[in-house]
């Protein structure tokens, strides 16, 4: 029989409650077959980059002849592979990682749109939140737990594989790759702000920074929209509007009607890519359309969206919502 004594949980352990919330959320989202298909697709993208880099590097090492003939053109194979590498952006440079994270990120957006209702919507819709709020949790514990679940999903598909690619390219190229980047003392710029680096690899900084940006923005936005809409279909519709329709509108306004480049700030995905690219040291010239707003402006827009979402979340996850 249980002995009834007042329960005391040490303050340090109280924060550990975030982990079970996150694990339960991840486990539930993994049960969807469609999620696994999307994970599979993102794995294919990763493998394309992984083996693409490997293949090009291997091919470069196998060219014994000084020239080869492609149709009527004779060319130096090493140069040809170099051109291919640059054209495909599989050269271990900043653009490689930006392209990879952006590609994976678009997959993450779909996964999250599908998982949102399972992660959070069900807690409101089915009343499971009553069980959570009956436990010794603060509101932020619940939010942090769910946010951690989203962060795990985002980083497993973006930051982690990008870091694997970074390490792989270093091994394929030479140790110089790591050393060279480590020696980039200069400064990394995020918009007009310049952060001096005294040792960390700027590419590493860029990958982690871009991953962190996606994690924070997507987690908060997903929590807020799931809390608001609660069901899968409306959630997908809203995310499609935000990440696809707004993109079309922004492109039409800026590239079509030649409005001010700031109209592109409507496209939140572009804002994330812009800020993420800046973390990697890439400017607006690396975009297909060079008419881009400043990265600092994009960062401000993203921050405002996140703050608005956090305010909404804070109001929603009050005790009264349990019966709402």
């Amino acid at each position: 029989m249980l002995q009834y004594a007042p329960l005391t949980v040490a303050d340090g352990r109280r924060h550990s409650v975030i982990w079970p919330i996150a694990m339960a959320a991840v486990a539930l989202s993994m049960r969807r077959r469609l999620s696994w298909i999307l994970y599979g697709l993102s794995l294919l993208v990763f493998l394309m980059f992984f083996f693409g880099q490997y293949l090009l590097s291997w091919a470069q090492g196998q060219t014994a002849e000084t020239t080869i003939r492609i149709g009527f053109i004779r060319t130096d194979p090493t140069r040809l592979i170099g051109v291919l590498r640059d054209a495909l952006h599989m050269n271990g440079g900043a653009q490689t990682y930006r392209n990879f994270v952006t590609l994976q990120g678009s997959m993450v957006v779909i996964v999250l749109a599908l998982a949102g209702s399972v992660l959070i919507g069900n807690d409101f819709r089915c009343g499971s939140l009553a069980f959570y709020l009956a436990k010794p949790l603060a509101r932020w514990h619940y939010l942090a737990g769910k946010g951690l679940a989203v962060a795990l999903m985002v980083n497993l598909m973006t930051t982690l594989p990008a870091l694997v690619l970074f390490v792989q390219y270093g091994f394929l190229d030479s140790w110089e790759y790591f050393v060279r980047d480590g020696q980039r003392l200069g400064a990394v710029s995020i918009g007009s702000v310049r952060i001096p680096l005294q040792g960390p690899n700027p590419l590493l900084f860029g990958i982690v920074g871009y991953g962190a940006l996606l994690t924070v923005c997507l987690s908060i936005m997903l929590l807020a929209t799931s809390c608001w809409l609660r069901k899968t279909v409306p959630l997908i519709m809203v995310w499609t509007t935000v990440f696809f329709f707004f993109r079309l509108v922004a492109v039409a306004l800026v590239d079509g009607l030649q409005y001010d480049a700031r109209w592109r700030l409507l496209d939140l995905w572009n804002d994330m890519t812009l800020v993420g690219g800046t973390c990697l040291g890439l400017g607006s010239e690396s975009f297909r359309s060079s008419r881009q707003p400043a990265a600092a402006e994009a960062l401000v827009v993203l921050s405002m969206v996140c703050v608005a979402c956090l305010i909404y979340l804070s109001r929603q996850i009050r005790a009264v919502e349990v019966v709402g």
């Binding site: 029989m1 249980l2 002995q3 009834y4 004594a5 007042p6 329960l7 005391t8 949980v9 040490a10 352990r13 109280r14 550990s16 409650v17 982990w19 079970p20 919330i21 694990m23 339960a24 486990a27 539930l28 049960r31 069900n122 089915c126 009343g127 499971s128 009553a130 069980f131 959570y132 709020l133 009956a134 436990k135 010794p136 949790l137 603060a138 514990h141 009050r318 005790a319 009264v320 349990v322 019966v323």
Partner: protein
């Protein structure tokens, strides 16, 4: 009857009260869910009785810290139940039974145990122990979607007691439970109460409530109309005519004599020496009846109250 009077009956000293509700009101928009309710509970089992919409669930959610009171205050061991510290000593079994349907019962309870800050090994140990207590050992590995209503109730109870709470709030725990399960639950509840736990149990199953405890809190239209033992509550309801059946050798003589008692409102003589008397102010009436029987040397074979049950009280409260 003023709710303050009712509160006085149940008021305990500060040190004794585990749950203290003081003049609490809760609105849902323009609808008053709970109206100026005061109640103090110590260790033991108290049944919260009332019809649908009486405000039982709202009061329980206020006590469990799931709702914030618009007026008044709720304290659990002196702490607001909205604070995580208080929730560590509250066990709450909500009325709804929608879970994560893909999860197994075992995982569900273990996950919620983890939210109390236990290590995974400790959460696992407690989960196994508590599933055994609620009769779910060996059948908790299936997904929750395959559970019957009774099994869901058991899982809900398991998650509520997994952290050894001092205050256990159970919203309709007997709903969907088979008779064997009810006995099991009652034994468990009595065991917990014996160890000093304060249990607040709401139920529509009034027969079960009467078997479980003699202490009830009666709610109607958002107000607490009575709290205490069944008889105490009955006494509070002075305007509720008490019906008493008296079996005597001379029923007609007794019927005539009964009119001497001022609280008597009706007397009926039935066959086989039975007199049915209806009276107000039950305690005063019963004292008067006792004195009359002694004075007139009436040979009473049997005397019993016909409506001194929770169900009768509930029916009466609903009508008023």
């Amino acid at each position: 009857m003023a709710s303050a009077d009712i509160a006085d009956l149940a008021t305990l000293a500060d040190g004794e009260a585990i749950l203290r509700i003081l003049r609490v009101s809760k609105w849902y928009g323009g609808v008053l869910g709970v109206n100026d309710v005061s109640l103090a509970l110590g260790p033991g089992i108290t049944a919260l009785v009332g019809a649908n919409g009486a405000g039982k669930s709202t009061l329980m959610r206020l006590a469990a810290g799931q709702l914030r009171a618009d007026l008044g205050e709720v304290r659990v061991c002196g702490i607001s139940p909205l604070r995580p510290r208080a929730k560590a000593i509250i066990g709450f079994m909500p009325d709804g039974d929608r879970f994560y349907e893909d999860m197994s019962g075992h995982t569900f309870v273990a996950t919620l145990a983890g939210l109390h800050g236990y290590s995974s090994a400790e959460a696992e140990r407690r989960t196994r122990q508590v599933l055994e207590q609620v009769g779910m050992a060996g059948r908790s590995e299936r997904p929750l979607r395959n559970y019957s209503k009774g099994m869901r109730q058991r899982i809900k109870l398991a998650q509520a007691i997994v952290h050894e709470p001092s205050l256990l709030i159970l919203d309709e725990p007997f709903a969907g439970i088979d008779p064997v399960g009810r006995q099991q639950f009652m034994r468990l509840f009595r065991g917990l109460a014996a160890q000093g736990c304060c249990l607040l149990v709401s139920s529509h199953e009034l027969d079960e409530v009467e078997k479980l405890t003699n202490r009830i809190a009666l709610m109607a239209h958002g107000k607490l109309v009575g709290a205490g033992t069944l008889t105490d509550v009955r006494d509070l309801l002075d305007q509720h005519p008490l019906t008493v059946q008296i079996t005597v050798r001379e029923p007609r003589r007794l019927a005539a004599l009964l009119w001497r008692i001022s609280d008597v409102r009706g007397v009926e003589v039935r066959d086989e020496g039975e007199v049915i008397v209806r009276a107000l102010a039950p305690r005063r009436f019963l004292q008067g009846l006792g004195a009359l029987i002694l004075e007139e040397r009436i040979d009473v074979e049997r005397l019993r109250t016909l409506d001194d049950s929770a169900e009768a009280l509930l029916r009466y409260v609903q009508r008023t």
